[in-house]
């Protein structure tokens, strides 16, 4: 069994992101471990707690959040990539904190750490 690090760069409106989620679930089901998932580029948008979907569609933001709750897999977010795309952890009046609590606010340094430690790195 191996330890994996995943990198997700696609948004919650892209079905490729669902592929990444099911891949992560399958890894765990097959007995592998995931030391962390790093969300970069448009992938950071998955952390926006204001993402909504009609009730008969998959809400990827919620799906990641549930996945984190069930598996305790760290979901890291590049805050610089996030701020460019309207995500904020600021508590100033002008902003409204919109990053879901199940995501860990990180930087690219975490990408280095995760990819360096893991046996396998998969970009999805």
């Amino acid at each position: 069994m191996s330890s994996f690090a995943l990198i997700v760069t696609t948004s919650p409106t892209d079905n490729k992101t669902y592929t990444a989620l099911t891949f992560a679930q399958q890894l765990l089901a097959d007995g592998h471990s995931i030391i962390g998932i790093f969300f970069y580029q448009d992938g950071v948008l998955n952390a926006n707690q204001y993402v909504q979907a009609p009730s008969d569609e998959v809400n990827l933001y919620q799906a990641w959040s549930t996945f984190q709750k069930q598996s305790a897999t760290p979901l890291h977010l590049c805050i610089t990539a996030g701020e460019r795309r309207g995500l904020t952890d600021s508590n100033e009046v002008a902003f409204s904190h919109n990053i879901d609590d199940h995501f860990t606010i990180s930087g690219l340094g975490e990408l280095v750490v995760l990819t360096c430690k893991a046996d396998k790195v998969i970009q999805l």
Binding site: F4, N15, K16, F23, D30, H32, K120, V121, I122
Partner: protein, 95 residues
């Protein structure tokens, strides 16, 4: 020295498959997922089937109503995909 090339887009739309094929070696394998599964009918891929091992993700071909008649293209489910990423020395994602 094996690389698993994960191809996620259709070569009928962009050149990612072509880039992959320009550097793929005979020790490598190609795994088609997402819109990459449409490449099962692309001439550039068909040309290489005798030399390179090619897989397509069953869940994604089924979702897109694709039937694989070509015996040289192997089908694999998500769990088999996971196993292949684990066996490969490294992966490269073309998306």
């Amino acid at each position: 020295m094996t690389i698993l090339h994960i191809v996620r887009s259709s070569a009928f739309n962009d050149n990612k498959l072509e880039l992959c094929l320009s550097i793929v070696t005979e020790h490598d394998s190609i795994f088609l997922i997402d819109d990459g599964v449409y490449n099962i009918a692309h001439p550039s891929l068909l040309k290489l089937l005798d030399r390179i091992e090619v897989f397509a993700l069953t869940e994604h071909t089924n979702a897109r109503a694709l039937n694989i008649d070509n015996k040289k293209i192997r089908t694999a489910d998500l769990s088999a995909f996971v196993a292949l990423t684990d066996n490969a020395e490294k992966t490269i994602t073309w998306q």
